[in-house]
């Protein structure tokens, strides 16, 4: 019983010590530990890693790896294309893009680039390959079907007909 009491008090003292160490040491140790875990944010949000980039003169198009939603997720599979940097884009963009890198055009993507960064964006996507679904005058309908300005890029997510 006495041993248990000694252990109890030792643990209580350690708890007070831990509390003092949290802001100086432990918080950083735990945060770095969590960050070091092999985890990634769901690609439905992040858009997945960039697979390759196409240089289009003053700007480039980053093509991401196709994203397949999980299980019952309501979004469709999609591929994300980034036009970047926004400052070098013409007032109207209409590009034919070879998404899968097979040398054949897959999509024609058209949108206006307003001066006002907060102005709503609209995009038309004409598929030249049946693997992709069309979009007409689409804004932000869902994570798999949108055009959005994020920092210095304009992202277009095109839904896939087949994952």
């Amino acid at each position: 019983m006495k041993l248990r009491a000694i252990l109890g008090y030792t643990a209580a003292g350690m708890t007070v010590l831990v509390a003092v160490l949290v802001p100086f040491l432990l918080m950083g140790v735990f945060s770095n530990g969590v960050a070091a875990l092999p985890l990634h944010v769901d690609e439905v949000y992040s858009g997945g890693p960039t697979a390759r980039a196409i240089q289009m003169g003053a700007y480039s198009i980053n093509i991401h790896r196709p994203v397949t939603p999980h299980f019952l997720q309501s979004e469709k599979p999609f591929v994300q294309l980034d036009w970047t940097p926004v400052s070098t884009l013409p007032p109207h963009v209409s590009d034919v893009v070879d998404v899968d890198g097979d040398g054949q055009p897959d999509l024609r993507v058209s949108f206006d680039v307003p001066q006002d960064a907060k102005a709503p964006l609209r995009v038309d996507v004409e598929p030249l390959n049946p693997h992709y679904l069309p979009m007409r005058n689409v804004g932000k309908e869902g994570f798999s079907r949108l055009i959005a300005r994020v920092d210095n890029s304009i992202l277009v997510r095109v839904p896939l007909a087949h994952p």
Binding site: M27, V34, H40
Partner: protein, 385 residues
């Protein structure tokens, strides 16, 4: 059941002397200054004023705990202040950054959604099975990043256990404040089966989060979206989600606490509270009922804001695992039968020492985490004044 009113250990709590109380408060006063004015703190006079007021506020409350020998009332002043000032500071920062309380899709895609600890239990299973975090934030990029917040929660949970819900949660203060408003509860009989509510919500939300691959509680049920941030409604479903947030907030955080004088959202609904209860098992501090003093008057049971005492648990001499160590039962018991306790020690051996050790740890956390939030809210108010 023991009913002896004159056990040798029966010593009613008496106020401490002024000098002793001041001496006991000194470490917390130093800690308050250290946390409020550490290197890197803003030198803006308004921020410094907010930090100074916060440091004084937290130190005075701790002094009153030492002086009076009671905990709940002073902790509640802190907790309600935290609950009120958090949305003020948070909303101001959100509106400043994006012009709205709604999270636009662009911010979610960019991984700039501030991470909230309520999502932690929902992320564990999808992360374990697929290595994917189903939250539109970033793991390391900012002070509100997932890694930072989870690290902070882990460290604080080691110290507090379920005490998180009474010393750190920046939401619970709103309903605790509401519960403090009426003199008497209008609804006094609460079905004890409601205690299982948070566990049911936790189980449902963990499974739903895995199935839908989204933080389902945050998307559909969190009442505090009404006073922090919500996904911008783009369609009828979004509108419905926002309506649910408002109805749950009004019902569980405003109306029911006013009627029951309990923290109803925490007691009946909060899945994070249920999850946090598990960590009470590893916490060294707990509340015990000394059966040699207890008269089974149920004063402690009625005082508990969280339904964490039942007739059965009192008969066993302990609080339920949902106990958040707020001290309400200890302060309310007329016979000092409800006591602070360190696991492994005998029940009636120096409970005040156990209380002191817990309070030093818990208040240090409260100053570090809650204090910074209070200072941020105060800064916002001073800024507008």
């Amino acid at each position: 059941m023991a009913t002896n009113a004159c056990t040798p250990h029966f010593t009613p709590a008496s106020p401490r002397g002024l000098l002793r109380s001041l001496l006991l408060t000194l470490p917390m006063a130093i800690w308050s200054v250290l946390m409020g004015f550490h290197p890197g703190t803003s030198t803006d006079p308004k921020a410094l004023l907010a930090a100074a007021v916060t440091a004084i506020f937290m130190t005075v409350l701790f002094f009153m705990m030492m002086r009076t020998g009671t905990t709940y009332r002073w902790r509640r002043y802190f907790f309600v202040t935290l609950g009120v000032l958090f949305p003020i500071g948070f909303i101001y920062n959100m509106v400043l950054a994006r012009g709205t309380m709604g999270i636009p899709m662009e911010e979610m895609i960019a991984g700039r959604t501030p991470f909230c600890f309520l999502a932690i239990p929902l992320l564990i299973v999808p992360a374990a099975l697929t290595r994917t975090i189903v939250f539109p934030g970033s793991i390391t990029a900012s002070g509100h990043a997932i890694g930072v917040m989870v690290g902070l929660w882990l460290a604080m949970t080691l110290v507090l256990g379920k005490g998180w819900c009474a010393y750190a949660c920046f939401f619970g203060g709103i309903e605790e404040g509401m519960a403090a408003v009426p003199k008497r509860a209008k609804i006094r009989k609460l079905d004890p089966r409601w205690r299982y509510g948070p566990w049911a919500v936790l189980l449902a939300m963990v499974l739903l989060s895995l199935a839908l691959f989204e933080p389902a509680y945050c998307t559909w049920l969190c009442p505090f979206k009404a006073v922090t941030e919500y996904v911008t409604a783009r369609n009828a479903i979004g509108l419905m989600q926002n309506a649910i947030f408002i109805v749950l907030f009004a019902g569980l955080v405003i109306v029911l606490p006013l009627l029951t004088k309990k923290r109803t959202q925490c007691s009946f609904f909060c899945p994070f509270g249920a999850f946090q209860s598990i960590f009470n098992k590893i916490s060294i501090f707990e509340i015990k009922i000394d059966r040699t003093r207890c008269h089974s008057c149920s004063v402690c049971q009625n005082a508990c804001p969280n339904l964490s005492l039942s007739k059965e648990s009192i008969a066993r001499g302990e609080a339920l695992m949902s106990c958040m160590k707020c001290g309400a039962c200890v302060d309310a018991c007329p016979r000092q039968a409800a006591v602070w306790h360190i696991k492994g020690t005998t029940i009636n051996w120096k409970p005040e020492r156990a209380r002191l050790m817990f309070l030093y740890a818990a208040w240090a956390m409260a100053i570090m985490f809650g204090g910074s939030i209070i200072a941020s809210g105060l800064f916002t108010i001073i800024h507008f004044l």
